[in-house]
Amino acid sequence: MSSSPSASPRVGLFVTCLVDLFRPSVGFAAVKLMEDAGCTVEVPAAQTCCGQPAFNSGDRKDAREIAEQVIRAFEPYDYVVAPSGSCAGMLKKHYPELFEDDPQAHERAENFAEKVHELVSFLTDVLGVKSVDAAFRGSVTYHDSCSGLRELGVKDQPRKLLKTVAGLEIKEMRDPDVCCGFGGTFCVKYPDISNKIVSQKTDTVRETGAGTLLAGDLGCLMNMAGKLKREGSAIEVRHVAEVLAGMADGPAIGEKAKG
């Protein structure tokens, strides 16, 4: 099903489990950005998680069943968009891989995968959004989350849009493309190693002198925010969509509500 170019594209928002549970405001920021760009956004109820915990733990059977459930729920839409490079990467790159032994299911997964996008690259690359109507006072540094960067090629897109946010200054960190040490279950399975990696990341974040750290994946953000808070840092951590949508006035990740 596809709409004519003039009609408003129908987007199914894949909320992602972390945004759903921990930071719904990112979901609403995503909805606003896409609605502002002329999309009709819907949120299918039959979604939970993209299945990465199973897939990356070697549990292919459960991963497949979850993939089937997601594909079924999102098939009616023109586009499937997630505010996460990691989950979008799972839907786009790994779902087809899960059905390699079943030509019919594989084709279905391939067709589905074609419609899947990470939020910011969807705005710029598909919808052609060149600027956002938002303001932000202060400097930010942007961390390239691994899957978004390497599976989906998300790198310039968020920076381009951030540059159009009034009052915002970007201060690049050293090695923004180096992993933050989250890695899904990795961070709880190998906490010592994960801690070493995230400590190096927060060092580079602090070096920039930026007041806010942004990224496009809540997993990485919670990891880095959790470390910065433990270190007693005042740097605020937010999902890039919050800033782009002009919705960065609530408490940052890991901060208490003001007042």
Binding site: V15, D20, L21, F22, R23, P24, S25, G27, F28, V43, A45, A46, Q47, T48, C49, G51, P53, A54, N56, S57, G58, D59, D62, E65, Q69, E97, C146, S147, R150, E151, C179, G181, F182, G183, G184, F186, C187, K189, Y190, P191, D192, I193, S194, K196, I197, V198, Q200, M222, N223, A225, G226, K227, K229, R230, P251, I253, G254, E255, K256, A257
Partner: protein, 478 residues
């Protein structure tokens, strides 16, 4: 070599506390990466060359028997001998037989990971033969009684000060007040000490970066030239190589060489690329009297046609570990066997069994940087995941992990139930964490909160709020 992979967690905890190691690892994090990036950028056809290199090796792996046969014929036609070794033990025995026949007491060695794999040095020592490592890095770790921690920079875990200390302790015949400040003086000293050993050695052993089927030639690439002396001066040159080192032609090799050094050290070419075909001919000015090739399988043929076949494209450039955040954090020894880093995480389970090395493919964040730089385009994360699947199929994960995953999957496959449950618990958690916005500790989240706070959820889930928003909209519309 003793397998210490099962204690990967303890090994890495030790590594993280090791001040010298952590200092040494800093070099890996910066040096190699910048150099590779510059080299790749300076060559416009670099990405195309990677594709071609991959295709060449894929072709070989699909016709491996044919090329091995051709190679063997050519080696023998040049007066060399090929010995097929199915296991590490076979290889050790074949090497020992040659050494015994030649009455070898001292054996010089060029840098080779394959002789680590077959545990050759220990075996030599048990049998009264003295192995002398001639590569500077290998020489350093031999003095220290260690194994390589990196496949192209074996002593990368050692600081310069530690090398100086070791040299002063072991080279007692030299002036104790000599100046060893500069890395070049260290290299000079090692060279001087080694010089005599080249002449003392009865047998020289090298690995091979490539074996050329068309000509029966073995190739090594080095930066110190030690390999050349190792293989030309003694009575016999023994090449130890695994079966997947074969490439069809000289032309193919020159393609792959163009990506090898660039990916490894950022050099256009290594300083020495040495081709050896057979023993010394009558009109050659020098060369070994005998030329032997030990062709080692050691589990590789079982990787053909499996999920891990692509791993056999590996040319041991080390780029994957140079770019690996886990390797940067813990270094190579923590992996507990011969091959560290991402390539080790895939290869080790193939060679020694996933039951002994299950941590290796699990200890990855799947950041994908290894695959992004691998000159042979080996999908390392995908193959690590395949190992996790094997573990899962064989029930090798801990009961807690399986149970946790089972409960999670049960809910993840039942969206309404999932939303009901998560709606309740996130509200509770949100209320609990409201005063600070985060948790310093939380039951069942110890792995997380040991080192970092857990950001508290905002309260109601997105799904709950979205449903409310839809209801309000409908009401307004009505």
């Amino acid at each position: 070599m003793e397998i210490k992979s099962p204690t990967f967690k303890d090994n890495s905890a030790e590594a993280l506390k090791d001040v010298n190691l952590q200092k040494a690892l800093g070099k890996v994090r910066t040096g190699f990466i910048d150099k590779r990036a510059k080299a790749a950028e300076a060559l416009p056809e670099f990405e195309d060359l990677r594709d071609r290199a991959r295709d060449i090796k894929d072709h070989v792996l699909d016709h491996l028997d044919l090329y091995l046969e051709r190679y063997t014929e050519k080696v023998e036609a040049a007066g060399g001998h090929v010995h097929w070794a199915e296991t590490a033990e076979d290889a050790r025995n074949q090497i020992m037989e040659i050494c015994r026949r030649l009455n070898a007491r001292t054996v010089t060695k060029g840098k080779s990971m394959i002789t680590e794999e077959i545990g050759l040095n220990e075996f030599f020592e048990e049998n009264g033969v003295t192995p002398v490592e001639t590569d500077l890095g290998e020489y350093i770790i031999q003095l220290r009684g260690e194994h390589p921690s990196h496949i192209i920079a074996p002593a990368v875990h050692v600081t310069k000060d530690q090398v100086e200390e070791e040299f002063r302790a072991k080279h007692t015949h030299l002036d104790p007040n000599r100046n060893l400040e500069e890395p070049t003086t260290l290299l000079g000293e090692a060279r001087a000490v080694l010089r005599q050993k080249y002449f003392d050695a009865d047998v020289g052993i090298t690995g091979a970066n490539f074996l050329i089927a068309e000509t029966g030639t073995s190739i090594i690439v080095t930066n110190e030239g030690n390999g050349d002396l190792t293989q030309t001066l003694p009575k016999a040159h023994i090449v130890v190589a695994s079966i997947e080192k074969i490439v069809p032609t000289l032309e193919d090799v020159s393609q792959i060489l163009r990506v090898l050094a660039r990916s490894a050290t950022g050099q256009d070419m290594s300083v020495y690329t040495t081709f050896s075909t057979g023993p010394k001919r009558d009109d050659d000015p020098d060369g070994p009297g005998e030329y032997h090739v030990i062709l080692l399988d050691n589990g590789r043929s079982s990787m053909l046609g499996s999920d891990y076949q692509e791993m056999l494209r590996c040319i041991r450039c080390g780029a994957c570990m140079n770019h690996c955040p886990v390797y940067h954090a813990v270094g190579g020894h923590a992996y507990g066997w011969v091959y560290p880093g991402p390539m080790g995480a895939v290869l080790t389970p193939s060679l020694i069994g996933v039951d002994k090395s299950g941590h290796l493919p699990n200890a990855s964040t799947f950041c994908g940087r290894c695959e992004a730089v691998c000159p042979m385009r080996i999908p390392l994360p995908k193959m690590m995941r395949h190992w996790r699947e094997r573990e899962f199929e064989r029930n090798l994960n801990s009961a807690t992990v399986r149970y946790g995953l089972g409960v999670w999957a049960y809910f993840a496959k039942r969206p309404s139930l999932y939303q009901f449950m998560t709606g309740l618990s996130m509200r509770a958690l949100g209320l609990l964490g409201r005063t600070k916005g985060r948790f310093g500790s939380l039951p069942l989240a110890g792995g997380w909160t040991k080192y970092r706070d857990l950001p508290a959820p905002e309260g109601k889930t997105f799904q709950q709020q979205w449903a409310e928003r839809q209801k309000t909209k409908q009401r307004e519309a009505a």
